[in-house]
């Protein structure tokens, strides 16, 4: 057997292992479904999330890092497309609940704004670039076989524990807008949607211009 054949053999082995893994994952899904459908949903949506991230090489770190580091904005534009589409989808769902007089879902993701947002965002940004992966990227790469991201995960866990214990301080100091700002409350549903999509569109154009400038 020459090297090429060995390589081929290894490839087909991975594929067969993948098929077996798929069967196991689906059996777990059926078990969870019998237990409670919502639990099965969390399982399957996680699998789909990981599958999509790996297959499309979608990386939030690269999206925010590469424009300055390499000048490439390909992933950045991908993320902007995702932001625009999710905004449209979420707003449609939220508006539907709103006009039907039901509680709007997911409003607990409208976070308070304060120094915690500024400091949290900045050090998260530094950390993800140094570690070469954010929360989703780290989990995805553990699945791909990167041992290093088990270390990242351990650090993440310890950092979370530290942060949890300072949470009280951050929520009592330099908190500017406690209840957060839901943009439709400021500009109306249509107004907020248009403004947000325009901002995303502007950033998209900027990303194209930025990359063109690098090539010159």
């Amino acid at each position: 057997m020459n090297l090429g054949d060995q390589k081929k053999d290894q490839f087909s082995k991975q594929f067969s292992t993948g098929l077996i893994l798929f069967a196991i994952l689906m059996m777990v899904a059926i078990f969870l479904f019998q237990y409670a459908p919502i639990i099965a949903f969390f399982w399957i949506s996680g699998l789909a999330f990981g599958y999509i991230l790996q297959r499309s090489r979608f990386c939030f770190v690269a999206a925010l890092r590469d424009p300055a580091l390499t000048g490439s904005t390909a992933v950045t534009r991908g993320v902007l497309v995702a932001l625009a589409l999710t905004t449209i989808g979420f707003t449609a769902v939220k508006y539907f609940y709103h006009v039907n007089g039901q509680t709007i879902p997911g409003q607990n993701y409208i976070q308070s704004i304060g120094m915690n947002t500024v400091v949290g965002g900045t050090i998260f940004g530094i950390g993800m670039v140094i570690a070469g992966g954010c929360a989703s990227g780290m989990l995805m790469r553990i699945g791909e076989g990167f041992k290093i991201h088990l270390i990242t995960l351990s650090g993440f866990f310890i950092g979370t524990m530290l942060g949890n214990n300072h949470l009280e301080w951050w929520s009592n100091h330099l908190l500017w807008i406690k209840d957060g700002v839901f943009l439709p409350d400021l500009f109306g549903w249509v107004g907020a949607l248009i403004i947000q999509l325009m901002v995303i569109g502007l950033l998209y154009r900027l990303a194209i211009k930025w990359e063109e400038k690098q090539e010159l």
Partner: protein, 177 residues
């Protein structure tokens, strides 16, 4: 299935998707998740949950903190995956990526390259953990889901993520590459 079909079937899993394909599929996943679970996607709440549980088990922390921990512990004496469904989803992310990598024959056990890389990963993880804890979320929960939910906090978090990424990029060039 004959050999030819088998080959074709296998090849289907091989090519990478475009970023736009990824963006469309992730957005669909976000919207379905919002409808079914009444919440957008998030990851780090699971880490927070287990950090609190561990701390409760070890028994240290501020009194306020304790109340949350005990509250979480009292009525959650069930199977682990029922306790925190986000944890189950996070495990799904790892296994979904593993599945994708295997079907495309891209799975490689990658060794830790150097002590430097190890330090960078540990420090980076630590910073992300602290940051996501005080800002209640990561690139997914606070940034992607936050902006998708038309929350101003998502935009501000995103702006400072970018600032942090600039600083991180400088550090990367200075110390790591």
């Amino acid at each position: 299935m004959n050999m030819e079909d088998q080959k074709k079937f296998r090849k289907w899993f091989k090519p990478s998707w475009s970023y736009v394909t990824g963006a469309v599929l992730l957005s669909i996943l976000q919207v379905i998740t919002l409808i079914v679970t009444q919440e957008p996607l998030g990851i780090t709440s699971a880490f927070s949950y287990w950090a609190m549980r561990l701390q409760g088990f070890l028994g240290f922390g501020t009194p306020d903190h304790w109340a949350v921990v005990t509250q979480l512990m009292v009525f959650r004496e069930t199977l682990w995956f029922e306790e925190n469904l986000v944890t189950l989803r996070n495990l799904g992310i790892i296994l979904g990526a593993l599945l994708s990598a295997l079907l495309a024959s891209q799975f490689r056990l990658k060794k830790i390259k150097s002590g430097k890389q190890l330090m960078a990963a540990a420090l980076g993880g630590l910073l992300m953990g602290y940051g996501s804890s005080i800002a209640s979320g990561c690139n997914i929960g606070a940034f992607f889901s936050g902006i998708g939910s038309m929350s101003l906090s998502g935009w501000i978090f995103g702006l400072f993520l970018f600032v942090g990424a600039l600083i991180g990029g400088k550090l990367l060039l200075r110390f790591l590459i």
